[in-house]
């Protein structure tokens, strides 16, 4: 299906990979970026007036849960993909904890087909690291990769056995696949529901110690060192985890890391009132940890901002704090939060934000894009830095509604999204 060429006219083009930040036209043709320059309009172009708006290479959320197959009442690939493009993400990588688990190429291919049918965001499945995510036997990384998997991870069921983790890291080298690890020591987490500390003590909730996370981070970095493999640490949640990643990078290890907007913007106090919209793993951290995560994001230790978009049904999140599932949605709030809370105050630059939302995650996943060079995929995120929105969960495209940011007014929002040169969302 040939799309007519698109001309995005007069946008402020921010392309950190090319060191570009200036007013340009952007011409998209045959699914690729055709040209970046001035006065590019040609007869037959579909012109999109973008004066006053920011055009960036399409954003990628490398950590989402799309629940299909198996839990379609929480989210489908189609509803998740709609949420992604509305939130400015032209691509997402979805975790393997579906039912059945995405531990074989037919499930991977099925998810890719569902995404193609939806025709919105690019959806890249992440294969399970171990069969059934049971932490015993590694999956067929090669078959999964050929079917379209971009990484392997057991995510919420972290690999407990260090020998299995070592084997996974070693074997992944054959395909240069990143092994993504949700770092948690389940024995230390126990029945914990929020971060251990004074706030949990006061709330009367069982705590999850910070050590549950950073012990696993340090173990896995040690295994990345002995294997020389690529390790990606999911959702950093403690200062000590960030420091370990910083040291690993300085030592030249192939270790990367992501952080979520909620861990950058909220601390454990948000969970103190037993609000299930503040229940997730890793748990919201202490203020000192939160500040350290912001610092790690600003200084380049963090490679990607990812949402860990984890939709649950409203009935599940209405339960008491301890019974309610871990996880909140993030696709439709991440970009406005990053713009309003990190870029506007000057904590990070707009170019940094583009790096963390686009170039960073795409490089980790080994996918093209992340820049606006001619020939790159015509995946574009168009931002409006001036207008404000209020976070209204009831109008989310996602089936999940649980967010601790409901009601917040944020300046800066997504104006439009193109995937492969096709306009898939506009406000």
């Amino acid at each position: 299906m040939a799309e007519p060429p698109v001309l995005i006219r007069g946008a402020r083009v921010v392309d950190p990979a090319a060191g570009l930040d200036g007013i340009r036209d952007l011409r998209l043709a045959e699914g690729k970026v055709a040209a970046v320059g001035l006065g590019l309009v040609e007869p037959g172009d579909v012109v999109f007036e973008a004066a006053g708006l920011v055009a960036a290479p399409g954003f990628c959320d490398m950590h989402v849960h799309f629940r299909e197959p198996g839990f379609e009442y929480q989210e489908t690939v189609a509803s998740g993909a709609a949420a992604a493009v509305a939130g400015g993400f032209t691509a997402v990588a979805c975790m393997a904890n579906t039912d059945p688990v995405n531990d074989n190429p037919s499930i991977t291919a099925h998810i890719r087909q569902l995404a193609a049918d939806a025709g919105l965001a690019r959806v890249w499945p992440i294969g399970a690291t171990t069969r059934g995510m049971r932490g015993e036997r590694i999956t067929e990384f090669g078959c999964l990769r050929r079917a379209g998997a971009v990484a392997v991870s057991d995510d919420g069921l972290p690999v407990r056995d260090p020998a299995v983790m070592r084997r996974a890291l070693e074997y992944a080298r054959l395909f240069d696949l990143p092994v993504i690890e949700h770092c948690e020591t389940l024995e230390l987490t126990g029945d914990g529901a929020m971060r251990e500390g004074a706030v949990a003590t006061e709330a009367g909730l069982p705590g999850i110690p910070a050590a549950s996370e950073f012990i696993a981070v340090e173990r896995n970095i040690a295994l990345a060192e002995v294997t020389g493999s690529r390790l990606h640490i999911a959702h950093l949640g403690t200062a000590r985890s960030a420091a370990a990643v910083r040291r690993a990078k300085a030592a030249g290890l192939r270790v990367t890391a992501e952080v979520t907007p909620h861990h950058l913007l909220l601390n454990e106090e948000a969970a103190g009132g037993c609000d299930t919209a503040a229940k997730m793993k890793p748990p919201l951290a202490s203020e000192a940890d939160r500040a350290a995560l912001v610092e790690a994001t600003a200084d380049g230790t963090v490679d990607a901002i990812a949402t860990d978009h984890a939709p649950h049904h409203e009935d599940e999140k209405k339960l008491c704090f301890q019974s309610a599932p871990f996880g909140i949605v993030g696709l439709e709030t991440a970009v406005p939060l990053v713009l309003d809370r990190l870029v506007m105050p000057g904590t990070i630059s707009l170019a940094d934000a583009v790096r963390l939302l686009s170039v960073g995650p795409l490089r980790i996943l080994g996918r093209p894009g992340g820049d606006l060079k001619p020939g790159s995929p015509a995946d574009i995120t168009l931002l409006d830095l001036e207008s404000s929105t209020t976070v209204r969960p009831e109008s989310f495209r996602s089936r999940g509604r649980s967010t601790p940011f409901a009601g917040l007014e944020l300046r800066g929002q997504v104006a439009a999204t193109w995937v492969g040169g096709r306009l898939v969302f506009s406000r």
Binding site: T201, E202, A203, G204, F321
Partner: protein, 309 residues
């Protein structure tokens, strides 16, 4: 007072009002027919989602002595065993009798969730998870005041499993709210971080917490609540933390409280539990009167519906 979700959120005058009212209800127990018509025609639903003998019995007696209709639901006998969510159970009960719901749950915050989901009802917390047990704290404060004449300026020692205890959290809040100094002690595996936020001082050794105390509250060692054993044995717990006559001698002739049920020879010696300083049975007796005062106070804030009673 429209409901009682916890001591948190309660003001000192509200707490004192209940303590001041309670003697009236103690007198009711002495009458030939121990019943007053204060809650006549009203329904008090008892939703006990966690096994409880004494608190449930105490609330039932309080309900009956106020002439209200008690409606009891316990997991073994209700549809909760059929996977109905507790919210649906509560909604069903509230449709029958949207009045006062007394709730006990393993889960922190269950009473608050009920109050949010069933705004027509008045919710009374009869113990939620590790969080609060406000009527226990009120009856403890009442008992201390009965024996010591006041709360303000007293030194109260609390010894035991501070991590998992809702009795501890509610008592820490109420006693400090009413001006007592609260010192506490327990094994390091059962002391949560950040106790200063509850206004209490933790001590590693029980002897330090007990020194010159006017009242001692012994907490039950709750084996069933522990994620993995936090103490090596009951024998060693008794050696290190059990309230014995020797340890009690460190106090200023303190009265001894225990929320029950007792583990004799674990957290308390029989000599102390049955000794002259023990007020454990007074607590049980006072519990009914204090719960009557709480229910009556809440009923007063609820307009009677036409057709009720």
């Amino acid at each position: 007072m429209r409901q009682l979700l916890g001591i948190r959120g309660l003001s000192a005058p509200e707490a004192l009002a209940i303590l001041d009212e309670a003697p009236r209800y103690q007198d009711v127990a002495e009458q030939p027919v121990p019943r007053v018509p204060i809650l006549l025609g009203r329904t008090v639903t008892h939703l006990f989602l966690e096994p409880s003998t004494r608190t449930h019995a105490s609330f039932q007696l309080a309900t009956r002595r106020l002439s209200a209709e008690p409606l009891s639901f316990a997991p073994g006998t209700s549809s909760l065993t059929k996977r109905e969510t507790f919210l649906d159970t509560a909604r069903t009960l509230a449709s029958m009798a949207p009045d006062i719901i007394v709730v006990r749950s393993r889960e922190t915050g269950a009473p608050a969730v009920l109050a949010r989901e069933i705004p027509d009802a008045s919710v009374v917390n009869a113990g939620d998870g590790m969080n609060e047990h406000p009527t226990q704290a009120l009856l403890d404060a009442f008992t201390i005041r009965e024996r010591r004449g006041r709360i303000e300026g007293l030194r109260v020692a609390i010894v035991g499993d501070l991590l998992h205890s809702r009795v501890f959290r509610s008592n820490a809040r109420l006693l400090t709210l009413l001006g007592a100094e609260v010192r506490c002690s327990g094994p390091p595996t059962l002391i949560p971080p950040g106790l200063e936020r509850l206004g209490v001082r933790p001590f590693l050794r029980p002897e330090e917490a007990l020194a010159d105390a006017d009242a001692v509250m012994v907490l039950r060692i709750q084996i069933e609540r522990m994620h993995g054993p936090s103490i090596p044995s009951e024998r060693e717990y008794y050696e290190e933390f059990g309230l014995t006559s020797e340890r009690l001698a460190l106090t200023r002739d303190a009265i001894v409280l225990h929320p029950g049920p007792l583990n004799r020879g674990v957290e308390i010696s029989s000599a102390v539990a049955d000794g002259p300083q023990s007020v454990i049975l007074d607590q049980v007796r006072n519990g009914v009167a204090v719960r009557m005062a709480v229910l009556a106070e809440i009923a007063r804030s609820r307009p009677r519906r036409t057709g009720d009673g």
